[in-house]
Symmetry: C2
Subunit: 451 residues, 2 copies
């Protein structure tokens, strides 16, 4: 958790405003020299009037480079400020995966309206991408890459690179496909540089390349890109035909999304980290969890209710309800956190269930034992009640040993049963551990009182 300092400061952004207001031609030159992410920051800081003015000065091709940096909501607002022709020319120049992200949530009439006006080949690409389910490799791939036949020579490949100079920004490979469009391999620009102009591409082509099927989940694609240490991966269809490529920058977004989902699972706040959501929408997403957890809380109330007699005779017992609950909840959440992250990063798969469980159980016993010793000493010092010290201490030892096991096994069971993993979120495990912890606590107390 560290703030990003890598942003233009307010002063600089103000100076861009006055640049635009004072002299359009100076603005154009200076703005054009900025990196697209800085252009984005400038454009973002402008009001709609100034944004419209920028669109009248800057060609849609350049705006296409900037558009991808905006959040979807901002894109929609920005898009409204552009005139018809500008919009379409911009979308035509936007990478296909970025276009998909923008038009996918639209209603189909609006979507078709846009598609119809687009360049014919781009339209075909977009229709293909939109046909893949969300979060699949096919849905995040891009169609902009350079292809060549294995029989083509280096000179032809260089010619192709020249033709696409302004269409594709960063090109590092030529994708080799045979007559049936089946993927053969990659020619790196480095091999191209070191070869003679007359060399056939098949002779400098690396054919030992990992591809991914179009229906693979994007998280799995992310793992493959990490495991194979590559900057892009070709997406192929059922007959090995080359459909598109997924590049590492898109994968970084997937990894961030995945991490945010992990945090959401831990805290039952999935899908609410988008700061563009209103309070109302965020509440609507979070309230169901809090209420569901409240119902579980009623079970806890019943657990305590079952020991009403014990509580009535020793009100002091209720003082330690929070302590036992928190210790159980916190320990369980730690184990859960360890599981969620080790599963995501692939560490868990290396070690297996048994070793993981034993590790967590051992940790629980050790943490429980040390906590128990400390609390016994403290209660003796503060309350001078040996039996209370024993009840709280013994409860802590037992509860903490169990709660690590529950915290680590529940996400795995839920993963295996293919239930929505949000059910294994921190608050659920905490509540479950609360119930177990309080039952242990009151059972020990009641037993002791009866002796």
């Amino acid at each position: 958790m560290k703030e990003v300092k890598n942003r233009l400061d307010r002063e600089t952004l103000e100076s861009w405003k006055s640049k635009l207001d004072m002299d359009a031609s100076t603005f154009i030159t200076a703005y054009s020299n900025l990196h697209s992410n800085e252009q984005y920051q400038v454009l973002r800081s402008f009001d709609t009037d100034r944004q419209r003015k920028v669109f009248s000065l800057i060609p849609p091709e350049m705006t296409a480079q900037v558009f991808k940096w905006f959040s979807r909501d901002e894109q929609v607002r920005l898009y409204r400020e552009m005139d018809e022709a500008y919009r379409i020319r911009m979308l035509d120049r936007l990478a296909s995966d970025d276009v998909r992200r923008f038009i996918e949530p639209m209603e189909s009439t609006e979507q078709n309206d846009i598609l119809e006006r687009m360049d014919a080949s781009k339209r075909k690409h977009m229709q293909e991408l939109l046909a893949y389910p969300s979060y699949s490799a096919g849905s995040i791939m891009r169609k902009e890459f350079i292809m060549a036949a294995p029989e083509a020579d280096v000179a032809e490949a260089i010619q192709k690179l020249r033709e696409h100079t302004d269409t594709y920004e960063a090109v590092y490979f030529i994708y080799i496909v045979d007559r049936d469009h089946a993927f053969v391999g990659l020619v790196s620009l480095r091999n191209l540089l070191m070869a003679e102009h007359s060399t056939k591409l098949m002779d400098i082509c690396d054919t030992n390349i990992r591809t991914v099927p179009a229906d693979m989940d994007q998280e799995e694609v992310a793992h493959i890109i990490q495991d194979y240490d590559v900057i892009s991966v070709p997406v192929v269809g059922t007959n090995n035909e080359l459909l598109g490529i997924i590049t590492v920058d898109d994968i970084i977004d997937v990894i961030e999304f995945e991490a945010t989902e992990d945090v959401g699972e831990l805290t039952a706040s999935r899908g609410t980290t988008d700061m563009n959501l209103s309070s109302f929408k965020a509440a609507r997403k979070r309230a169901p969890w809090i209420m569901l957890l409240m119902f579980l809380g009623l079970i806890t109330a019943n657990v305590i209710g079952a020991f009403e007699e014990t509580l009535e005779s020793v009100v002091l017992l209720s003082f330690f309800i929070p302590l036992v609950m928190d210790a159980a909840g916190n320990t369980g959440t730690q184990s859960l956190a360890v599981m969620v992250r080790t599963i995501s990063t692939g560490e868990y798969q290396k070690h297996g269930l048994w070793r993981t469980l034993m590790r967590e159980f051992g940790t629980g016993v050790l943490v429980g034992l040390s906590s128990a010793i400390v609390i016994v000493v403290l209660i003796m010092l503060i309350y001078q009640e040996a039996w209370l010290a024993f009840v709280v201490g013994a409860s802590l030892l037992l509860t903490l040993s169990f709660s690590t096991v529950i915290g680590s096994i529940l996400p795995i069971i839920i993963n295996k049963l293919k239930i929505d993993p949000a059910v294994a979120s921190g608050p659920f495990i905490t509540t479950l551990n609360d119930i177990i912890g309080l039952t242990i606590y009151f059972t020990i107390a009641t037993t002791l009182l009866q002796i």
Copy 2:
């Protein structure tokens, strides 16, 4: 959270064992054709005897490609199985950032011992890298990149590419530095391909390149690589001299590390997701948090103790202690999760403190209001106690409104005060919210009883 399926299965790994046992030369050919990550999986599944046999068959240059995939602990074990000469030749061929990761935790005598045997230029590189503090750009950069002078021509650059064929795996740029070694810009291989052999590099060099200083924090470097959509970033010294490069694959590791740290902050389990840690070591890292939280739990005991009279007259009140606590804790944790992730991904910086706080407060009031209504109805149905329903309902509304604010403002305050952000972890905020929630609950109850 999704399991990685992209791994060789047990059967395949077994077949590699028998390949090695049966016929060494078949093994060498087949193993050499694997991707380094698959070689890693095979090597990892072998016992030490077989690993030693692999080292006798496979040159250290190839093992260097595999070595980086292992965890540090595994690397140490593997390293022990290699003989002296093999070790050093392998380390000489390992990228400098990977060597750093391996030798950095060693004691200085052992470190020096290794450095002394290394190739002279590599040793110099390593000493430079080791001088930078952990997590800085300088510590994660690599020294393996191709440099050229602005006055050099394309033919010379191609010659350099040829010279380094087997040293550097993936090369996408030539780094241009002037006579004082100051960074000038990048020449992409694409521009190299499209230019004439006699073209000077300065004429096809992109000079509008974002660099990072060597002391920049690695998380910030990660944000820059994401913001500028590049696959590598040059690291420069105080006089703009080119020191090294950081590539996108290292940045993915940083992003994963950062996400795991975020989860750790949320659950006070930082640094324990490494499954190679023993129960004892994991307990030693986690127990202090659980104990510290237990001390805070004693405060909660005191809060309840302060209302002992109220509790004695209405034991029923204690039934709802867990419900009020959990609702406060869960809501606060949701807000915290939103903050931690929006700060990490840079979303927070876009919206600012005020808007974020208002959003969270608004969400808290709405969630509180709906929870209050539901609980009032439920308590009326189950316990038929209007005053109890009122106490619990009113407490929920107030507590939930506050706990979102605490969950979102505390991490920011702590970030600003530069205190270890682990102090803002979920359990702490939960305990703080417990105390506030229980105080509100018992205050309302006591006031009502006195009327």
